[in-house]
């Protein structure tokens, strides 16, 4: 069976630390980034079924990540993590094709469920 890959990007390390083991338990192969530049580089090399990214970050933000993913691999699904005061950008992300939104703080279980849903929808070429 083909493995399903998830990339997690959030500049707060705790997000990746908590999500990675939980998603791995569900059978996903998970890569975690805290710097958006590094994540972009990785996304340029490799397609992921699901990308979970913070919206507001230092350097390139979640919208840029979303843009790159959708250009390179339209069948990948992107879940945006929104925080305080990122409402405007969230609307923009929706227009750009983000699959789902989760606002911080969120329930671990809830995000896992959404990743599973997104992965079912994801089609990589």
């Amino acid at each position: 069976m083909n493995e399903q890959r998830v990339l997690i990007l959030d500049d707060e390390p705790t997000v990746g630390e908590r999500l990675k083991p939980a998603l791995e338990k569900l059978g996903f192969v998970v890569e975690v980034f805290t710097k958006s530049r590094e994540a972009l580089k990785r996304l340029d090399e490799r397609d992921f079924h699901v990308v979970v990214t913070d919206l507001k970050m230092e350097g390139p933000d979640g919208l840029e990540v979303l843009g790159l993913v959708k250009r390179r691999s339209p069948g990948s699904q992107v879940i945006m993590i929104t925080g305080y005061g990122s409402f405007e950008q969230a609307r923009e992300a929706e227009a750009l094709g983000a699959y789902d939104f989760v606002s911080k703080p969120f329930k671990l279980e809830e995000l896992c469920k959404r990743v599973v849903k997104a992965a079912k929808k994801a089609v990589l070429e």
């Binding site: 707060e12 705790t14 997000v15 908590r18 791995e24 338990k25 911080k104 703080p105 671990l108 279980e109």
Partner: protein, 857 residues
Amino acid sequence: MGWGDYFFRPKKRRDIRHLKDVLNRFRELIGLNNTALELIADMGEKLSGDYVFDSQYLRQVTADLEKAVQGVVHNLNAMSEGRYPKLLDAFETARAGVRAELDGRRAVPGAGFVIRLDEASQDLSDATGEKMATLGELGRLGLKVPDGFVVTTHACRTFLESNGIDAERAIEELSSLAGEPLEKASDAIRERIRKGIPPPLLRKSVQEALSRLGKGRTLAVRSSALGEDGTLSFAGLYGTVLNVAPPRFFEAYQEVLSGLFGPQVVSYRAKQPRVAGAAPKETGMAVGCMTMVPARAGGVCYSLNPSSPERECIVISASWGLGKLVVEGEGGVDQFELARTAPHQVVSRRIARKERQCVLSRAGGVALEPVPAERQAVPCMSDEALSRLARIVVKTEAYFRRFQDVEWALDEAGEIHVLQARPLRILLGKDRCRADVASAVGRYPVLLQGRGVVACRGIAAGAVFHVAREEDMRRFPAGAVLVAKHTSPRLSRLVCEASAIVTGVGAVTGHLATVAREFRTPAIVDTGTATRVLKPGMRVTVDAEENIVYEGVVPELIRAQLCVADPYEDAVEFRLLRRLLRRIAPLHLTTPDSGDFRPESCTTYHDVIRFAHEMAATEIATSLDAGRAGGELPAVKLDLPIPLDLTVVDIGEGLNAAAAGKAKARLEEVACAPLRIMLESLLEPGVWHSEPVDIDFGGFMSSLTRTAAMDAASMGSAGRNIAIVSANYMNLNLHLGYHFNMVDVYLSGVRNENYIYFRFLGGVTDITRRSRRARLLADILERNDFTVEMKGDLVVSRTKKMSTEEMEHRLRVLGYLVGFTRQLDVLLQTEEKVDEYVELFEDRFLARKRDREEGSA
């Protein structure tokens, strides 16, 4: 608005305006008080481990909370003409503490040289070292640890500095050496420490701490260096001095301290430069000073046998006397293997011939002596004691979520003391663990899945034990899985005995859930069917990570949580949240008639708002008096068939136009929905006159003696029963007998704005019965979806965001409850009575809702 403005108005108008202003301030205060409590509960809920939150959340929530608490203080001062400047001071002090935590500036309690062992915690491990921090935590878990104190790392630095030793430089210098030159340099610096002179302030702090320990006891002086016992331990490299007479404490202290510069320690540091505590900057040693336990037997216990982990056994090594022989691997040692799940049966035993034992020597220190011939071949631990020890180790493991290596002692009275606990490194391989879980879980029937809400994450197994009544609590076996219908706050005292908790009904913000998180006992609440599906005696595994309960013990799951992920509780954000909550949530003030009920006693945000809330109610009464003196007042008495003597203050459409200008209004003229519902339920047959009458003599006498004081303290001439109302809002203060109830309600068509706040406090009889009554109230309230906090005989409970219909039902329940509890405390002679009255209440009053529903259907 400035206070100056209205002093120049005509007196009468000023009074009214003043009163209206006071009432508005009061409403604002109540609103902010609710907001603050909401935020505190929200923060507590995040500790369940079910949420992912980041430091931004912590900054935001503390900022919101700060604003709300500040608003409460501000409004209290505004409505009282600045009567509580000291509350502002208390708030600012609390705020400084919270901000310091957020900024990572950690304050060490006390003078900084000495911390009591029972105050040591992982959050203070920079000051106490890991080893003593762990002991402090275990003491709070209810395990027996020796009395004692920790001489901090700060003391260590001060000692070294005042003796002219630059620790950082010394380590750097030593690190560049090896072999004989290292030995020589190390000897020299250690000698300087042994001969050093403790600075006077350090000496004084230690003297005081020693005198608190009491006389006639000798001491164990143990290292607790930074990094020791942490992720990679400096195990065995630092010293311990046993059986030290208190006057010779500093000799031992300096000996232990000198260990920092031992040649082995220096080379270990150099080899492991990235290990916590290994960088020269991190050189520091705290030293634990504990009373010596005169051990009949002692030894070491591993929570999983590292030489055959697949056997799923705890392994215990034991010898007569102090455990030193076992630790050092000398002499004959008994070895036992026990099952990892309660009741921890002995699986194997190897009894050695124990010819020697290590005992306390009269001259100080320890000595080897022969074991009397008749005891040499006898096991030095009974099966019963072994099983107790196993329980201790499993509890420690569950708390720290790591396999454990525990050093213990059994005293003459048969009590087991934990002397040291540290993570046991067993490399099982993450991938193997995961694979084991995947293949294992399919083999076990799933009893519950995704049914409830996780209140505290974690995985544990045990036999199901149902708790319904007080006597069940007394019979509860340690290590069992607690299954109950409701998350009654009364169950909290079993939390630390239970391996896991599953309830049918309940909320993650409830009292039981909060306590479960404190003790890290895995808990799933609100499963609906727990009591039916989980049968007494059934062995189950509660996986509160995945929200599943399996039939049978699934060792692979338990093992996996101990070796796969880092415990979430250790994440930076969790530790910070716990520290913040410690400065925010604990409530120290309760009873207004105690001498401690002063702004100066408020140390947390919760204290501050509690104080302000209480005083605000008093201010209202005072202001009403003033208003009445002015002759005009938007207030009327309510004409009721029960002697409630209720004054209604209308701040906007709370009364019908028909009531205007009358001296007394009738119930039909009350337009405020919450007040009407509340009063209607109080007037229902049997509610007001429901008090059972078998007042026992003791309780009655006690109520007599308290009467005068209570009256003097709480009688206000404005009448003690006041309702401040508008169309949707009610703040009701009721003094009934000796009970003080405050009900604050907002009910509108908008579900999210609805809330009920209920506070109960009251006297008469002794504190035992008063807290029984508090437990009774808490129980009934939780069963009706209120979140409840209690402290002594204070009960604070809230419910919110339900449909108006559901809120109205809750309000009716409150009405019944207020009526029901009027005389109740004198009747609660025993804990069993609490059960009885909870049921009585349900039978008598909650049946009404069903009747009504059936009637309307």
